[in-house]
Symmetry: C2
DNA sequence: CTGCATCCGACGCGATACTG
DNA sequence: CAGTATCGCGTCGGATGCAG
């Protein structure tokens, strides 16, 4: 870890936390990840060796700790970073100019994020299957299935001959924009950017379903309440 | 600027802000710096070329803007980073383990920080000169003079045959610890870690004088009110 | 003094392969 | 799945010097 040679507390924290990937790793822990693989899943582009060394560094710094042979969790110091993460996220949401360059789009990340954030209680207890079709996504990540059944949500990338209740067709960019609240689902449907077919009564719940993302609250309130990430 | 390939607002903000030096540069702007040299003074170890490229990047990102031929200031987006800086600083103050390694000590930074943070109103209007002597500082930065006269504080590194009102002798480490509120000035005096000689009535004000650092408020309150950096 | 260009070294970081 | 070892590239960033 490179130091700044300054006694300033900000220098102390940034030299630890503001290295590449580090704050995103913390984000994954806040979002509920516990294992090496959980973290990797939320950070597809990090190399295992780097992740490994970051975890070691964060352990030594007392931000995370091992809770088992292969599980970690945030310490008190780590949990204290949550407001920082939230504030930085809110700043990015409001002030970042990058407006979703196509290189920022990643269907896998999007769906993974959905899976862990959606509230299954919105749908009936019986199994409900929602298929997403992104016509502009790279081959192999165009079609996704979210399977909600008795309080659980599963994510599938392969067609298991599902009995699909709802089919959502749109561009990856549109769905991502909806997910991070740059537009509302309903508006996107109205303007034909999203096409929904299937069970009408279930369809009405989609907007509400898609609002439970922790990010989604960013757009709506200026000063932003505690988020329910987990 | 290296990107993460993620749409997450946190990824957007960190890829811009969490590169080496960047947040410390913002800190310097918040502290009132406007010119290239102001920033450099607070970041003695940054190279001019790197500072230059960071300023350019931040301009493009809309965090700072040129206000004149050679002055910059924070934009609205930049000002919005202040809570982030404060939170990160508070985190570092509370949770950073590094406990002032000697490599973090820097007499120049310390004195520069003092000069801009001290409240001259504490002392009488007439010229008051306080000399600091750090016996463990590197040669050439052992002796410093703070000159307070009618509402202004100047900093000197050379002996101008001053008529010194107060002489403060201690280690650089001790003074730094006091400055960032790891201990109080009075306690350090009591335990003989700081030796003060000179005008007794002025000496009594030192503790109060040294409490006006923006950092000093970190230690005292858990949730920390708006700081007066400027 | 301000700001930038150039050079070059160090090492942060990524890719891959491999082990338990 | 959870990491470690190795290798090598790329770039960050530090030193110096110069131009405005």
């Amino acid at each position: 870890m490179k130091t700044y040679g300054q006694f300033c507390p900000l220098a102390q924290s940034t030299q630890l936390l503001c290295e590449r990937w580090t704050l995103l790793i913390i984000r994954e822990f806040i979002a509920g990840g516990q294992r090496f693989g959980d973290i990797q899943k939320g950070l597809p582009q990090i190399s295992p060796s780097l992740l490994s060394s970051r975890l070691k560094l964060l352990s030594e710094a007392g931000v995370i700790e091992k809770t088992g042979i292969k599980t970690y969790q945030l310490t008190e110091a780590g949990l204290a970073l949550r407001p920082v993460i939230e504030l930085l996220g809110a700043w990015g949401h409001k002030w970042s100019r990058s407006n979703l360059g196509s290189s920022d789009l990643d269907a896998g990340l999007l769906m993974w994020d959905m899976r862990r954030s959606l509230d299954p209680a919105i749908f009936p207890k019986r199994t409900v299957i929602v298929q997403f079709e992104y016509f502009d996504a790279p081959k192999g990540s165009k079609d996704w299935w979210l399977v909600s059944s008795n309080g659980d949500v599963d994510l599938c990338l392969t067609d298991n001959d599902y009995d699909v209740d709802l089919l959502v067709k749109c561009s990856l960019k549109t769905m991502t924009a909806v997910w991070i609240c740059e537009m509302t689902f309903n508006d996107a449907v109205k303007s034909k950017q999203i096409e929904v077919t299937g069970d009408k009564s279930l369809g009405k719940n989609l907007q509400e379903w898609l609002r439970t993302s922790p990010l989604s609250k960013l757009g709506t309130t200026e000063t932003w309440p505690k988020l329910d990430w987990s």
